[in-house]
C-alpha cells in the first residue's frame, strides 16, 4: 500500500463488529449448505475455556485450553477435513448440557456423540467409561478388567489420556488403585474440580 500512504483509506477499514457479524453469517450459511466438516465453538467453564467441536453425526471433540485450541483445530483438520468454522448453532445442545452439568443440575449427558477419533481398545474403554455413574469412580485396574483386558492397565491410562470427549465421556472418574488422581489431559486441577463438583451435587 506504499503508493497510498498519503491517502487516508480508513473508511475501508473493517471494524471488529462488522467482521464478527459477517463471519457469523458465513458460518450459518455454510452449515445450512452442508459445507462444514467440523463446526466448533468455545465456552467458559469452571475448568477453563472448553472447545466443543461437532461433525454432522454429533459431538466429536471436547478440548481444554491447555491443549492449545489452535493445535486442536489443526489436528481436527488433518483427521476430519479442513472445512472448519466457528458455528455455535450446531453446538447449542452440547453447550447447554455442559452448562447444566457444571451448575450441578445435569448428571447424564444426552447428546449424539461421534466417536470416530477413537478406535480399537481405546474405543471400548470409552464405552465402559460411559457406564461409570455420576459421582462414582473406578480404578484403572477395574476399567481394564471391565473391558476384558485385565493386564492392560497402562493402555487404559492411554485411552483416558487420549479421550477425545473429556467431561462428556467421564475419564475423570478413573483414579489409581491407591486413590491417587493419576493423570488428566485437562490438568489435575481440572480433574479435582470435576470430582468435587460431582461429590457435592
Amino acid at each position: 500500500m506504499t503508493d497510498l500512504t498519503t491517502t487516508d483509506l480508513t473508511p475501508l477499514e473493517p471494524d471488529e463488529a462488522t467482521l464478527g457479524r459477517l463471519r457469523a453469517r458465513l458460518a450459518g450459511e455454510a452449515d445450512r449448505a452442508g459445507l462444514l466438516d467440523v463446526a466448533y465453538t468455545t465456552i467458559d467453564s469452571p475448568v477453563g475455556v472448553l472447545l466443543l467441536a461437532a461433525t454432522d453425526r454429533g459431538l466429536v471433540r471436547v478440548a481444554f485450553e491447555c491443549e492449545g485450541l489452535d493445535r486442536v483445530l489443526e489436528a481436527l483438520a488433518a483427521r476430519l477435513g479442513a472445512r472448519i468454522l466457528a458455528a455455535p448453532d450446531r453446538l447449542q445442545g452440547a453447550a447447554s448440557q455442559l452448562e447444566a452439568y457444571f451448575a450441578g443440575t445435569l448428571r447424564h449427558f444426552d447428546i449424539p456423540l461421534d466417536l470416530r477419533l477413537a478406535s480399537g481398545f481405546r474405543l471400548s474403554v470409552l464405552g465402559h467409561l460411559a457406564e461409570i455413574g455420576y459421582g462414582r469412580t473406578e480404578s484403572y485396574t477395574q476399567v481394564a478388567a471391565a473391558t476384558g483386558s485385565p493386564r492392560a492397565v497402562r493402555a487404559v491410562g492411554t485411552a483416558c489420556a487420549t479421550n477425545p470427549l473429556p467431561v462428556v465421556v467421564p475419564c475423570h472418574r478413573v483414579l489409581r488403585s491407591d486413590g491417587a488422581l493419576g493423570g488428566y489431559l485437562g490438568g489435575l486441577e481440572a480433574k479435582r474440580n470435576l470430582l468435587a463438583l460431582e461429590a457435592a451435587a
Partner: protein
C-alpha cells in the same frame, strides 16, 4: 491444510477492504460472504503452498461482478427516502472516499483495489482484468493520483 476458520481470520479484513473498494459499502458484505462460501466449497482442492490471499482476491473479483450484475437488475427504490438509508451521523467524510472510488473508471478502481488493497501483482491484476501488465500498472497509478486529487483535496480542505 489449515482449518478454514484460520483462513477467514487471516484474510477477512483484506477481502472486505477489496470488496468495499470495488463495490462500495453496501454491496461489499454480500460479495464478502459469497467469496468465502465459494472459497469454502473449493478449499479441499486448493494446492498446498498456494497464495491463499491472491486466490481469495481472485474469487472476490468474480463475486463482485456477480453482485454488481444483480444490483444493476434491481429496480431503484423510488419510494424510499434516502435519509432513511443513510443516517446523518453516517454521512461523514467516509462517503467522500466511496464517492471518489465510484467515480473512477472500473479498470482504475479495480486495479487499485486488487493491487494496493488485495496485494495482487500487476501481472495478476492484468490476468483478471485483461490487458497488459504495464496497462494494469498505469491504471493503478492513474487511479491513485485521481483519488488523491478528488478525495484528499476534497476531504481535507
Amino acid at each position: 491444510m489449515l482449518p478454514f476458520d484460520r483462513v477467514v481470520a487471516d484474510h477477512a479484513a483484506t477481502v472486505l477492504r477489496v470488496c468495499r473498494a470495488a463495490l462500495g459499502p453496501v454491496d461489499a458484505d454480500d460479495a464478502w460472504s459469497e467469496t468465502f462460501l465459494a472459497a469454502l466449497r473449493a478449499y479441499d482442492d486448493l494446492p498446498a503452498g498456494a497464495n491463499v490471499e491472491a486466490w481469495l482476491v481472485t474469487i472476490a473479483h468474480r463475486k463482485a461482478i456477480d453482485v454488481r450484475r444483480r444490483a444493476s437488475r434491481r429496480p431503484l427504490p423510488v419510494d424510499t427516502v434516502p435519509e432513511v438509508l443513510t443516517p446523518a451521523e453516517d454521512r461523514s467524510e467516509h462517503d467522500d472516499l466511496y464517492a471518489a472510488l465510484a467515480a473512477l473508471p472500473d479498470k482504475q478502481r479495480l486495479s487499485v483495489a486488487y493491487h494496493h488493497l488485495g496485494g495482487l501483482s500487476y501481472r495478476e491484476v492484468a490476468e483478471l482484468l485483461g490487458g497488459t501488465e504495464a496497462a494494469a500498472r498505469r491504471a493503478a497509478a492513474d487511479g491513485v493520483s485521481r483519488l488523491r486529487t478528488h478525495y484528499l483535496t476534497g476531504a481535507r480542505t
